[in-house]
């Protein structure tokens, strides 16, 4: 992955980890740009989205990408479970928080949510909806882990389960996964999602 060296933020202390400010920003533009390849980043930087989710970039070349996002006044989140080269453990989260200076992490694992809290970065926990029989136990795990935000995937399941989720959790919800059309975005927002996450650049505008 070709990366230009960009001067990092003056100090990791300056990284914005305010969930309140993120919620307000999503109130204005309710979209997080999902970046699967570094080539997709310039369009996200030029867009109005307040947050960028990195899914697959190699961990040890991530710095310049994250800092480019932050230089635009956006928040950068890194998916710990999917990022290449990084341990899916506390040391991995600590590296992202202290060495890279990410605003937050994304993970499916409750243990890494606790690690994010210890490192004082925003924790987005994924609720993966592939099995209706597993939903009750997944909801109790989330209730116990208390992430800052829950990201619910895939998008087409969200309307089917939103009432069940809300009865159990009061967390802000981001809806992602196969959200490609404006109608899908609008449906999620109408049902109470804080924002959508999508790799479809047409929805970043």
């Amino acid at each position: 992955m070709a990366t230009r060296t960009i001067v990092p933020p003056a100090h990791v202390r300056r990284v914005d980890v305010s969930v309140t400010r993120l919620n307000e920003a999503f109130g204005r533009v309710p979209v997080a740009a999902v970046i699967r390849r570094a080539e997709d980043l310039p369009r996200a930087l030029a867009s109005q989205v307040p947050a960028v989710f990195f899914l697959r970039a190699p961990a040890f070349h991530l710095g310049p990408l994250v800092w480019a996002v932050q230089a635009r006044g956006k928040l950068a989140f890194v998916h710990v479970d999917l990022i290449a080269g990084l341990g899916k453990d506390r040391a991995g989260v600590t590296f992202l928080a202290r060495e890279i200076g990410v605003n937050g992490i994304i993970t499916s694992h409750s243990g890494l949510v606790a690690a994010a809290r210890a490192e004082r970065v925003i924790a987005v926990q994924r609720l993966l909806l592939y099995d209706d029989l597993g939903l009750p136990s997944a909801l109790s795990a989330l209730d116990h882990a208390r992430p800052d935000i829950v990201e619910i995937l895939p998008g087409m399941i969200f309307p089917l389960v939103v009432d069940q989720i809300r009865a159990r959790l009061s967390l802000p919800m981001i809806v992602g996964g196969f959200v490609r059309e404006p109608a899908q975005r609008d449906a999620a927002l109408e049902r109470g999602a804080l924002a959508i996450s999508t790799s479809s650049a047409e929805l970043w505008r």
């Binding site: 999902v34 699967r36 899914l55 697959r56 999917l82 993966l128 909806l129 592939y130 099995d131 209706d132 029989l133 597993g134 995937l153 895939p154 087409m156 399941i157 089917l160 992602g176 996964g177 196969f178 790799s199």
Partner: protein, 193 residues
């Protein structure tokens, strides 16, 4: 003697002895154990397999089994199961050594995950590919068909007959549900070979 495969579009997802009996009472000759403790229902399952019922088990979600050769040998030899489901290619390869049919699970949660799943499809091709959640099948079928012509099962989040029919209409060969009402509805539809 070869164990039976899946015929017919509805595959009841059972989780205990009671739901197994409900499916069998409705005339189903095939079940999927999607959740719960397999070991708690070993007796009824072995009995059903002896009567020629095709039994498939989701090794990623069921409790009480290790994902290893000893568990596969137990399912194939002692219980007479027809096949296993897993996201893990190495486990499926191992399962085929025990003459179990292999169903590769793919999570259709986002485009990144789907891509990873499609890139991991085992060779030779599995008996079927199980897409979870089934409700995503209509949206992801073009990407799947571009990668493989293996039969598709839809599993997870099918709670109404309308959803089940949409999954089948999108090109899935089999749809699985844990809902008794759906088993009733589909038990009236003649089995297609």
């Amino acid at each position: 003697m070869r164990t039976p495969g899946v015929i017919g579009a509805m595959l009841p997802a059972v989780r205990d002895g009671a739901s197994l009996n409900q499916a069998l009472d409705l005339g189903y000759r095939q079940v999927l154990i999607e959740r719960g403790s397999l070991l708690a229902m070993v007796g009824p399952l072995a009995g059903a397999a002896r009567q020629g019922i095709a039994i498939f088990v989701n090794l990623d979600a069921v409790e009480g089994l290790a994902p290893d050769s000893a568990a596969l040998a137990f399912l194939a030899t002692d219980l007479g199961f027809s096949g296993v489901l897993s996201v893990k290619p190495h486990l499926l390869k191992d399962a085929s050594r025990f003459r179990l049919r292999t169903v590769q699970r793919i999570h259709a949660l986002d485009s990144t995950g789907l891509e990873t799943g499609l890139n991991s499809i085992v060779s030779p091709p599995p008996y079927a590919i199980a897409v979870a959640p089934a409700v995503a099948v209509p949206q992801v079928m073009p990407a799947i068909r571009a990668a493989t012509s293996t039969p598709i099962w839809g599993t997870g989040f099918v709670t109404t007959a309308e959803q089940a029919n949409e999954v089948l209409a999108a090109g899935a060969d089999v749809v699985s549900s844990g809902r008794l009402e759906l088993w009733r509805e589909f038990s009236r539809i003649p089995v297609r070979d």
